[in-house]
Every structure is written in structure tokens, then in C-alpha cells.
């Protein structure tokens, strides 16, 4: 329901893992095996020489020396910026509209999710097993199914039977169906939150 690109994230994670693993093994190998150390020395010296040969190809005013020495941190900075951009692209997809319907004659209708959330809150008032609730709407993930889906989170009192809460959730979802006139996709999560910790545990009996 959100725009998190899971496959890409897994790929990035695997790539980072492979790079770190290779670097670590190489560093450990350089400490243990003389052959690896010599090879590493040769490669590092070669790279350093090429870098020093590269520097005069783009001379820059004195404190800098060469544009190439600016390019390296710039590249790292660019990488960091790309990472931050990627980070902000995760998640999302939340919407304020629980349901909407277009009708050429009577016009467009949209149901705000806060209306349903208030109804759920009202229905749960005085309930012993549930100490808090939240209802949010999320855009459909696929192109084909753009109808919003709902997520109902119920915070159970400490010690309350999850099945009891689940049956309650089922009733609530039924009531939402009746209010909206259709059956939206619903995810119910029974969990614990801050209110569970603050509220007193279920009394014996």
C-alpha cells in the first residue's frame, strides 16, 4: 500500500553486505596471509601512482591543487544526497479519504477517514478490553485497485484476550462496511501501545 520498493531495498542491502564482507575479508586476509598483503601493497601502490598522475591533468588554484581532489569528496557527498533522497522515498501512501465515489448525476462523494475513526472511537467507549484505537486509510498499491484500504489498530489492555478483541474488530469492520456501503480491504492489528502500558491491567475475574 505504500511506495517502498522492497526488491530494490533488498538489492541495495545485499550489495552493501557483499562489499563490506569482501572489504573485511580482504583486510583480515592482509593481516594473516603474506601473499594477500603483497598483492594488496602492489595494487594500492599502483592506484596511488595513477591518482598522482591524474592530479595535474586538471590543475586548480593553489589551496586546492587539482580539481580531482575536489571531485572525490563531491562524489561522496553526492552519494550521501542520493541515500537521503532514497530514504525520503520510502513509505508514504497514506490518505485522508476512506472511500470515494463518482456519480455523474449526484456528483462526487468522499468519506473522510476521521469520520470513521470517530465512529470507531465512540463504539469502543467504555470497552474493557481495548484502551485505544486508530483508523487510517492508505492508497491502493496497484494501478488496477486504487480504492483506499483501511488499517484499524486496536490497543489491547494488558492481559486482554486477543480473540475477544478480534471479535470486536470484526464487529467494527462490519459496521464500517455498513456505513460505507461496500467492503474495503481492511488490515486489523491488535497490539500494545503507550496506552497499554499506562492503563491498569485486566482485573481478575
Amino acid at each position: 500500500m505504500n511506495s517502498t520498493n522492497r526488491a530494490m531495498n533488498r538489492l541495495l542491502l545485499a550489495t552493501a553486505g557483499l562489499v563490506l564482507l569482501a572489504a573485511g575479508l580482504l583486510a583480515a586476509g592482509a593481516g594473516l596471509v603474506p601473499a594477500v598483503r603483497e598483492q594488496w601493497n602492489a595494487v594500492a601502490t599502483g592506484l596511488l601512482e595513477r591518482w598522482q598522475a591524474l592530479l595535474p591533468t586538471a590543475p586548480a588554484p593553489e589551496p586546492l591543487g587539482s580539481w580531482w581532489s575536489l571531485a572525490l569528496p563531491a562524489l561522496l557527498l553526492l552519494g550521501a544526497a542520493a541515500s537521503i533522497f532514497w530514504l525520503t522515498r520510502q513509505g508514504g501512501g497514506r490518505t485522508g479519504t476512506a472511500a470515494s465515489e463518482q456519480d455523474p448525476e449526484s456528483g462526487d462523494t468522499a468519506v473522510d477517514v476521521s469520520y470513521l475513526a470517530a465512529a470507531v472511537d465512540e463504539a469502543l467507549k467504555g470497552n474493557r478490553a481495548v484502551v485505544g484505537s486508530s483508523l487510517t486509510a492508505w492508497r491502493g498499491r496497484t494501478k488496477r485497485n486504487t480504492a483506499p484500504a483501511l488499517r484499524l489498530t486496536l490497543q489491547a489492555r494488558k492481559g486482554a484476550s486477543p480473540r475477544e478483541v478480534a471479535d470486536l474488530a470484526e464487529d467494527l469492520v462490519g459496521a464500517i462496511d455498513a456505513l460505507l456501503g461496500h467492503h474495503p480491504t481492511v488490515l486489523v492489528r491488535i497490539g500494545s501501545g503507550v496506552r497499554t502500558k499506562l492503563a491498569r491491567a485486566h482485573r481478575a475475574g
Binding site: 542491502l13 545485499a14 553486505g17
Partner: protein, 119 residues
């Protein structure tokens, strides 16, 4: 060398995280209408309460942890009172069964050998 080992281990950890499934400490319950998930913590609290009531213990004498494939119930009996493990096991099993999880988990009872005084 030690640094290299640490880096390699971190890399292996990331690689493993990329391949393995995510863990959120939640599991699915059977439901006819909606997708229904419940936090492990909530299951543990419910089992603790059921076992505590069955054994007539004070709050804090029963602690449950729900791991990936089982519920482990630690019972701390009152000194001088013997607990019937069968009763405790039945209470825990009944609670787990009543949840109707998509994939049920066995409940295991561990009664501490040292009792709590003055409860």
C-alpha cells in the same frame, strides 16, 4: 585484522538481512473478513493472565515470552505451595487454542524451583 573481521561480520549480517524474511514480532489470526495480525507481546500478556488466574498467583509471578515458534511461560510459585504443571499447561494451551492463530504455537511451562515468599 580484528577490524577486518568486524567489517566482514557486519557485511555478512547485512547480507543475511537481505536474504531472510523480515521479523516484526506479529502473527496472523484467522478471520473471515479482514487481514488480522496480533502482536506477540499481546499474546504473551493474555497467556500470562490466563495461567496466573488458573494457578491463583499474584501479578508478576508469571512471565511469558512468545518467540518465533513457541510460547515460553515462566512461573514463579509461592513458597510452600505446589503447583500442578498439568493445570498450568492446560490453561496456557487453552488460551493459545482460543486465539485461532493461522499457525498455532506450542506453549511450554517452566516452573521455577525457587519460590516467591509472602505472596
Amino acid at each position: 585484522m580484528a577490524g577486518g573481521t568486524v567489517v566482514a561480520l557486519a557485511g555478512a549480517g547485512l547480507l543475511l538481512a537481505a536474504v531472510k524474511g523480515g521479523r516484526r514480532g506479529r502473527r496472523a489470526m484467522l478471520s473471515g473478513r479482514s487481514a488480522l495480525v496480533v502482536d506477540d507481546e499481546t499474546i504473551a500478556a493474555a497467556i500470562s493472565r490466563k495461567v496466573r488466574l488458573a494457578a491463583n498467583l499474584a501479578p508478576g509471578q508469571v512471565a511469558t515470552t512468545v518467540t518465533r515458534n513457541r510460547a515460553l511461560v515462566h512461573v514463579h510459585p509461592t513458597s510452600g505451595m505446589t503447583l500442578d504443571p498439568a493445570v498450568l499447561t492446560a490453561a496456557a494451551a487453552e488460551e493459545v487454542a482460543s486465539l485461532r492463530l493461522r499457525k498455532t504455537i506450542p506453549a511450554q511451562i517452566r516452573v521455577a524451583t525457587k519460590g516467591a515468599v509472602g505472596r
